[in-house]
């Protein structure tokens, strides 16, 4: 269900915790599974739960509680824009409007070609870098002017 490489990464996470506390690795394991699969289907979550010898419902609780797990398919690139107050004061809302207009989609939508999904984010802990965009959960882009947004979207479009 998951590649050898993903399973090796999960094993490294399991090793961080006491031998009888494998469940502690569930957040990392779900992240690793999501990177490989693109999103977390019920089958993927159940597989992770079996691998960690924990009840499937407990893994599902975790997957549905933390908001960076995607329980539905997303586009090839997921872009999250922070519009919380500190970011909004430095143009976070304008940046979000610009991305919306540029991609022709609203928050929680995916472009028809399946390339981009847009999300509205909560605090990313980088308010001094506003406007801030997060790409595919793991890459943070700081001080995003409209020019830099153009460049970012063009670069991602090639991938």
């Amino acid at each position: 269900m998951l590649s050898q490489e993903s399973l090796q990464q999960i094993d490294r996470e399991i090793a961080k915790y006491p031998a009888d506390q494998k469940q502690s690795a569930v957040m990392a394991a779900l992240r690793i599974a999501q990177v490989e699969k693109g999103w977390l289907s019920r089958e993927t979550i159940e597989y992770v739960a079996r691998y960690l010898e924990m009840p499937a419902i407990a893994a599902y609780e975790v997957a549905s509680f933390y908001n960076m797990y995607d329980l539905e398919p997303v586009g090839r690139h997921k872009i999250t824009v922070c519009t919380n107050l500190p970011c909004a004061l430095s143009g976070g809302v304008h940046a979000a409007d610009y991305v919306r207009q540029k991609l022709g989609i609203d928050f929680n939508e995916t472009t028809p070609d399946g390339r981009f999904t847009l999300k509205e984010g909560e605090c990313m802990g980088a308010c001094g870098d506003a406007p801030v965009l997060l790409v595919n959960n793991h890459h943070m882009c700081s001080w995003m002017t409209t020019d830099k947004i153009d460049q970012l979207l063009a670069d991602l479009d090639k991938k």
Binding site: S24, F65, Y69, L85, L89, G128
Partner: protein, 439 residues
């Protein structure tokens, strides 16, 4: 970013996070010294108490006192957790500490482990900063290879294993018991206290949780002495503190200054007000701290006691600056949405109350406010506060109460006139995309 102070001193550059650079700046000397001299645990805790280091995550609890709560003769593992789950709107200091000086956190945790007899530790890192998490893992590898972390540290009989745990998007995990639940691989829902983590923490074992900046301060305190650290600040407010300045200033960023520095000076360091506009309001300690009018703030110094006397909290040191173009109803609407979204859903007053607060503020902002809405807001907050397991309910209520208290006229204008006192085009112009030339 400012490269002054203690933790951020000498961190201008690409490689300052590396072990070699940290050691060149005097890093790991405090850990080496206590191991070589076999310093007693009591002596280290006493030094911390003398320093009056207060928890840098928001609560400001004295660190030395917290450390003294850990049981001494517990058989089996004791744990340390570092709270780097920084997601309080306005706060972005721990990210920079981990980005530019991760070894100060590792050394601080190793010293803490020595002082409390902890055997294992985890640094819980905020989900959205994956690249910082990866860097911290690399720094940990360096520290392990150099013998500063792991079994028989520096050839002694002291052992401490340290790992990084990556969050995945939940503000509530910054609450210490939710953070422990999360490390255990569960939903991050806070636990009842008591029992406190010092007696029943991670996996049910004695655990101490401190903020990233708190741990990072520890090596500096041991090197300069508790008295020296205290004297950097003012009585009851020892040392330096990182302030994350965001909003309508010319140079948003982190500034490390001694506690007791006038707010006016901090504002000046952050480049002053953007476009020379007038200061309207400041949230001095992260989004949960009560907002203060600009003129009140200009008379404050940046320390726990001064901000508390003015009616707010120093909190995490996140200073959100708003100028005269800000609509206070809209600002509160955004914050209230955040707490509604981030309530973990465990306690009814918070789960239902945060939604209620958001919906009422939302309708006022959108011209649908009713004459008794301000009373309703105050009533809802009064019924949330003190009635929940953790402080998120209070954190959602305090902004509402303080915005209504200090800017009530603006809310009333909204309700009566179904529009904002600050014209929309002025608001838009004031919060355009702004990137400081120094970035």
């Amino acid at each position: 970013m400012s490269a002054h102070g203690l933790i951020l001193a000498g961190t201008d550059g690409d490689r300052t996070w590396r072990l070699q650079d940290y050691v060149a700046r005097g890093g790991y000397s405090a850990l080496k010294k206590i191991i070589a001299e076999k310093t007693s645990q009591d002596a280290i805790i006493a030094e911390l108490k003398t320093s009056v280091l207060r928890g840098r995550g928001g609560a400001g609890f004295p660190t030395g006192l917290k450390w003294s709560f850990m049981p001494r003769n517990f058989p089996g593992d004791k744990y340390l957790a570092c709270n780097s789950d920084e997601g309080e709107p306005g706060t972005f200091k721990d990210r920079d500490i981990l980005r530019f000086n991760p070894h100060s956190v590792i050394e601080g945790m190793a010293i803490a482990a020595y002082a409390m007899g902890a055997t294992r530790g985890y640094n819980y890192i905020h989900g959205e900063i994956f690249e910082i998490y990866q860097r911290f893992e690399e720094a940990l590898d360096e520290a392990r290879a150099a013998g500063f972390v792991g079994q028989n540290i520096l050839g002694s009989d002291f052992s401490f294993e340290l790992f990084a745990h990556h969050g995945y998007g939940a503000y509530i995990c910054g609450e210490e018991t939710a953070l422990l639940e999360s490390i255990e691989g569960k939903k991050g829902q806070p636990r009842f206290k008591p029992p406190f983590p010092a007696s029943y923490g991670l996996y049910g074992k004695p655990t101490t949780i401190n903020n990233t900046e708190t741990f990072a301060s520890v090596p500096f305190i041991l090197n300069m002495g508790g008295e020296g650290f205290l004297n950097l600040g003012k009585p009851n407010n020892g040392g330096t503190k990182l302030f994350s300045v965001s909003g309508h200033v010319n140079r948003p960023g982190n500034y490390e200054v001694t506690l007791g520095t006038p707010f006016a000076e901090l504002l000046e360091m952050a480049g002053g007000m953007r476009g020379g506009r007038k200061l309207k309001a400041v949230i001095p300690g992260g989004s949960s701290a009560p907002v203060l009018p600009g003129d009140v703030m200009m008379d404050c110094t940046m320390d726990y006691d001064s901000i508390s006397k003015a009616g707010s909290m120093l909190g995490s040191g996140a200073v959100i600056v708003m100028d005269e173009t800000t609509c206070m109803v809209k600002a509160l609407e955004r914050l209230s949405y955040f707490y509604f979204e981030e309530s973990c859903g465990q306690c009814t007053p918070c789960r239902e109350g945060t939604g209620w607060l958001y919906r009422v503020v939302h309708r006022i902002e959108h011209g649908l406010g009713r004459p008794d809405d301000l009373d309703l807001l105050n009533s809802v907050t009064a019924n949330i506060m003190g009635r929940t397991i953790c402080a998120l309910g209070d954190a959602a209520s305090m902004p509402v109460q303080s915005f209504v208290k200090h800017f009530g006229a603006e809310f009333e204008y909204h309700i009566e006139n179904k529009k904002c006192l600050v014209p929309p085009e002025v608001q838009r112009a004031g919060s355009q995309i702004y990137v400081s030339p120094s970035c």
